[in-house]
Structure formats: structure tokens, C-alpha cells
Symmetry: C2
Subunit: 363 residues, 2 copies
């Protein structure tokens, strides 16, 4: 198992992760998560496993106080179902009163060499906006900003910069002197994204929750440290289980075969699902006799994390597999049908969301 | 003698400086400088002593082609007569067709600890604009931008960042790992200022001349290097003799007693001038007998660099001093009178220039 800010490899022991990163398990909060569980399968199914200071957000929800939800995207690749989970969380918090802020880090794309020009990265970021909105965000409570274009980002980064040192950035991100200076500064920019909702020109000091991959927890730690120095409220965070790659390993935007992308053609989706790694037994006979293993099945993850809202339906799928009553071929076909239905409806929503881009864009 | 990007100390041997910095003497260009000499005492009196690629600008002037003049200010201190020389050069180039661009580096002020907040530095930068304009810039051919607020700066810096390394920045600026990351990134921001006029959204690729202190030549070298990598035209530069501090040493914005500031009260100006270091002999008797030394006289510098446009009048002052006919007390009084006349008229011009701020501000 290796998790750092650059990579996630191998099978992940999430209990070990909680210890190593110093985050907290959500288990003791169980009694306070009812509202979130009602509206979000990610909470209901224990997919959110860890957090920092989530109590502060739960307090705000209870007291109906202002809070922000922030989750960012690097526009280096199109959105896949792994990315969707962050938006799904944002939507859940939004339904409970949170104002959603979404930074699109075109600068990150470019300084880390994932686009040939900044302009290209910026355009990709613009194009992402309707695709993000279409997942179900309420445009009246959503602000999306493009890092290199939003007037608040660089000035806030400058403010933060004086509260840290190059050594700190180096220690967190592991950059070398042969790296470009933009990579180092991007460490500060990302902290600025996280604290942006709290500036006077926007929401002022409010609790902010950041659904984020556990591998990016060091960024949260930096942002929390800087928040304290600037008299901002330390941001909270939540972490969820990673979706696995379709053929095992990590799901990644840069490995096309590892994920279903939200703009994949249905023919591609079908091929990807039909070739996905399952929890099925080696032969149909064995499968029928001994049953499959849905916990290890990537196809089941698509049901559990995305496609099956109804808990009883999910349980049925689970048990049918476990008891060998559901074979992988049929199951994959069902998964594809659900995906196709979702993606076709999503496509229409993206078209409709294009009119709302200007409304949510924070310039 | 010590000149680096942080300090200028001791008596400066400008021939040595030319060699050490690898800039070129303006002497061989003499025949091409007639137009500049006609309109600028800085050229006429040999105060501009060195350059990089000035021929490119002289070509543009001759061919009546588009070119830019860029000179920046750190709003950490009010403007003094040393700063005025950069504007005077910009005005001269502007009269010959150049478009003037002036970055005000509020980010620099803040990351280097010269203001308590970025906001304070930004406000200081805004307040500088009428003070710069009032020196005689044509607002139709002038753009002034505040570094943290101008939408083109950070994106260009990001573009440049990928063309260099942290080692390069460290080698030029000498920062340490214990410094804040904003200092390192500011090295790139300053290069972005210099190349900004050449972006597609503004002038496109045009020759740019940067009047700059020789101590800041390393910034020009970095900008020239990055320009080449980005297919921009390598910026040209000019360097002029530094004005000395009123009591010897370097004139500096942070040493109030070293300079006349353009917003000093006349009572302060009088006191500063009356206490200034002169080239006078130790006693009036000796002065009358052996004469003074205007070359070593700070008061004479104010006449030569700023207050006496007419060459014959300047020569008269020079010879009167040299021949002991002009004594320091009278000479200082005359200098003060000229300063007072200049500063009172300037004050009115600053008031009038306030209406033109919006016109020149590049946001």
C-alpha cells in the first residue's frame, strides 16, 4: 500500500489510512449523520469513512448556519464516476444548506505538464462547468471558479504565502529544485482555493467542508495550518473509499480504461463494463455453486456508489451475487443498461446546463 | 562596491559595472541617440550609461513601428526623485511612439514584508497612479496595472513558470528554503510584468524597452531568457546612473532622509536640501579660492538630473561652482526654490490626474 499526494497503489487498508493520516473515523459520529444518510447513499452505505472536524459542519447544519462545501477539479481529464462522488457529496451538503464552491485548477493542469498551454487548460476548465452543474447542483447556491482567471485566487495565495516557507511546501509535496517554481507556488494556490469562500468579499469566516481524496489530505493540513494563522476557520474534510479501476488498481483520469467517463460513448461504456473485473468465480458452474464476491466486484461498486439509489434493490443484487443466483454476464448487462440510462439523461442535462454557466462562474 | 539585486553600496565604478553585468555601453550608439537626446536630458547628459539591445528600439523608432516601454514600481514607499528618472525615460520613449506599461507590484511589497497586508499594498499602488501620471505621461498611450489585480499577470507567470526551475530562481535571487514561497514565485511574476505588453490580448510581439536600475539587471536576464523560450521578443533595457542619497550613500525609498520625495512638505524639502552633502570646500574661504566640485555634489545632481532643462544654464551653475563663484548656501537656496516650484506645480497636476486613473488602469 502506498498513498501519497501523487499516487495511490495497491489494496488500501482504510483503518491503517486513518491512523497514518491522522484523520478520524466517521463511526463515532453515526448518530449525527442521519440527515446526510437520508439524502446521500455515500453516507448511508459507509462509503465516507473518515473526516476532520466534520462536527463543525454538522453543528452548522443543525443550527441552520451558513457553511460552505468546496471540492475542486483538475481539468486535465474529463469527469469520470470517481469524480462524480465529490459532486454527489457537495450536492448532499448543499441540500442541507451549504454553499458550494468549485475551483477548477487550470494552473495545476498546466504547471504539472498535463496540457500544452495554459489557454488549453483554461478552455477545458470552462467546458467542465456545464458537466459539473448537470450532476444536480443548485445553481443558486453554487460558485465555480477557474483558478488562473478568478480575481480572488492569486491575491489570497500571496496573503497565505507569507505564512509559510518553501521548506514546508517541499516537505508536503516533495518537489525538487529542478522543478518549475509554479509547482511550489501551486501548493499555496490550492490552499487559497480551500480558504477562498471565507474571504471578506465572499462569505466571510464560515465553516467549510472539503470532500477530498485521502491522498490529498496533506493539502488540507496545509490549508488548516494557514487558516489558523490568518484567523480563518480551519476547514473540515471528508474522505471516501476510492472507486477501483475497472480492471483493478486505481481509477485514474489519465488511464482511460480504468474508468467510465461521463462523456464516454455508450459503445465504449459497454465494452469497458463487459471487460470489467468482477467478483465472480472462475467458471459459471463454480459461481452458481459457491456464489460470487460483490465486495471485490467493480461492477457492484458502480451499483453501490452510483446506480442503485434504493437500498433494498442493492441488497437484492448483493445477495443474488453472493448466492450465485446472478451471473456476471447478466449483471454486467444490467449495469450497462443502468449506466446507459444515466448517461443519456446526463447528456441532455449537460446541454441544458450550458445556459447556467455564466450564472455560477465566479470571475 | 557591492551591487546585487538587494543592495547598492559604496562608490560605483560604472565601467566595471558594465563589464560585470555584461550590459553594453551606450557610447557606440551615440549617433543614433539624437532624437532621444533632444527630448531627454538623461540621454543628452550621458546619465543613461548602459543598455541591452537598445538598437531594436531605435530601429522601431526610426521605422515608426510599434514598441513598448515598461518600468515598474514597488509601492512600498512614496515616489522620490530617483523613481522620477524612470518615468522621465518612459515619457521620452513615449514621445517617440512607445506605449508605456507600468506594473505596480503590490504583491512584491507584501511578500517581502513591506506592508502589513496585501490590501494595504494594493491601496498604496492605487494611490500611486495619479502621482505617476502627473509626471507627464500621455494617458492615451499609458497602461498602469496593479500586479495582484491585473487579470493577465498570474496566467502569464504560470506560462513562464514551466520554462524555468526553482534552482534558476534561487541562483538569481538568492532565496533560502526558509523564505516564503511567494518570494520565489515573485521572480516569475516580475518576468511576467516585463513580458506582459507582448501577450496576444495586448500588443502582441513587439520590442519592449525596460529602463531599470543596473542592480535589477538579473531580472531582465531572466525575462530575456524566458522571452526566447516563449517566442516573445527579448526585452531591451537601459540603465542610468543612480542618484546619490542626500547625505551620501544610496538613495532609498526606505531611508526618508536620503531623498526628496515628491510628496514631501516644502519645509521638509528645505531642511533636507540645506543639510545635503555638497561638493563645496570645507570653508567658504577655501571654496572661493579653490572652487567646489559639482561632480561630487548631490545638490548639483538635482539640477543636472531634474531641475535645469537648459544646458547652458546648467553649464553656468557648474562653472560658477567650479570657479568658487557660487557658494553652497546660495546654491542650496536656489535648488530649493526650483524644487518648490516643481513640487507645487506637481501637486496640482496630481490632483488633476486623479480623473484619469480609470482610463489608464489595466484590470
Amino acid at each position: 500500500m502506498a498513498i501519497d499526494v501523487d499516487k495511490v497503489e495497491g489494496e488500501i487498508d482504510y483503518n491503517k489510512v486513518i491512523k497514518e493520516f491522522g484523520v478520524e473515523s466517521v463511526a463515532p459520529l453515526k448518530s449525527r449523520l442521519k440527515k446526510l444518510e437520508e439524502i446521500s447513499l455515500l453516507y448511508r452505505r459507509g462509503i465516507i469513512f473518515a473526516h476532520r472536524d466534520l462536527n463543525r459542519i454538522l453543528d452548522a447544519i443543525e443550527k441552520k448556519e451558513n457553511f460552505a462545501v468546496l471540492t475542486g477539479f483538475n481539468p486535465s481529464a474529463p469527469l469520470h464516476f470517481g469524480n462524480k462522488m465529490f459532486i454527489d457529496q457537495a450536492i448532499a451538503f448543499q441540500k442541507l444548506g451549504g454553499k458550494v464552491y468549485i475551483p477548477l485548477s487550470d494552473d495545476e493542469t498546466y504547471v504539472f505538464g498535463k496540457s500544452d498551454s495554459l489557454k488549453e487548460a483554461t478552455e477545458r476548465a470552462y467546458n467542465l462547468i456545464p458537466k459539473i452543474l448537470a450532476l444536480g447542483l443548485d445553481e443558486d447556491k453554487t460558485k465555480i471558479f477557474i483558478s488562473s482567471r478568478c480575481k480572488y485566487v492569486y491575491p489570497l495565495a500571496i496573503e497565505l504565502s507569507r505564512r509559510t516557507t518553501l521548506s514546508t511546501i517541499r516537505a508536503i509535496f516533495g518537489f525538487k529544485d529542478s522543478d518549475n517554481p509554479g509547482k511550489f507556488f501551486y501548493g499555496i494556490i490550492q490552499a487559497a482555493h480551500i480558504l477562498l469562500p471565507q474571504i471578506d468579499e465572499l462569505e466571510g469566516r464560515i465553516p467549510t467542508v472539503v470532500p477530498i481524496g485521502i491522498d490529498q489530505d496533506p493539502y488540507i493540513r496545509l490549508a488548516r495550518d494557514l487558516a489558523e494563522k490568518l484567523n480563518f476557520i480551519k476547514p473540515s474534510s471528508t474522505n471516501h473509499f476510492f472507486m477501483r479501476g475497472l480492471r483493478g488498481g486505481k481509477m485514474s483520469g489519465s488511464k482511460k480504461e480504468s474508468a467510465i467517463f461521463l462523456d464516454d460513448d455508450l459503445s465504449v461504456v459497454k465494452e469497458k463494463i463487459m471487460n470489467a473485473l468482477t467478483g465472480g468465480a472462475p467458471t459459471i458452474e463454480e459461481h452458481k455453486k459457491f456464489g460470487g464476491n460483490p465486495e471485490k466486484c467493480v461492477v457492484f461498486e458502480y451499483f453501490k456508489f452510483h446506480l442503485v439509489e434504493d437500498d433494498k434493490e442493492l441488497e437484492k443484487i448483493y445477495l443474488e451475487c453472493k448466492h450465485g443466483e446472478r451471473v456476471c454476464g447478466d449483471c454486467k448487462k444490467e449495469c450497462f443498461e443502468k449506466l446507459a440510462k444515466f448517461l443519456e439523461s446526463y447528456k441532455e442535462k449537460v446541454e441544458k446546463a450550458k445556459d447556467r454557466v455564466e450564472k455560477v462562474l465566479l470571475e
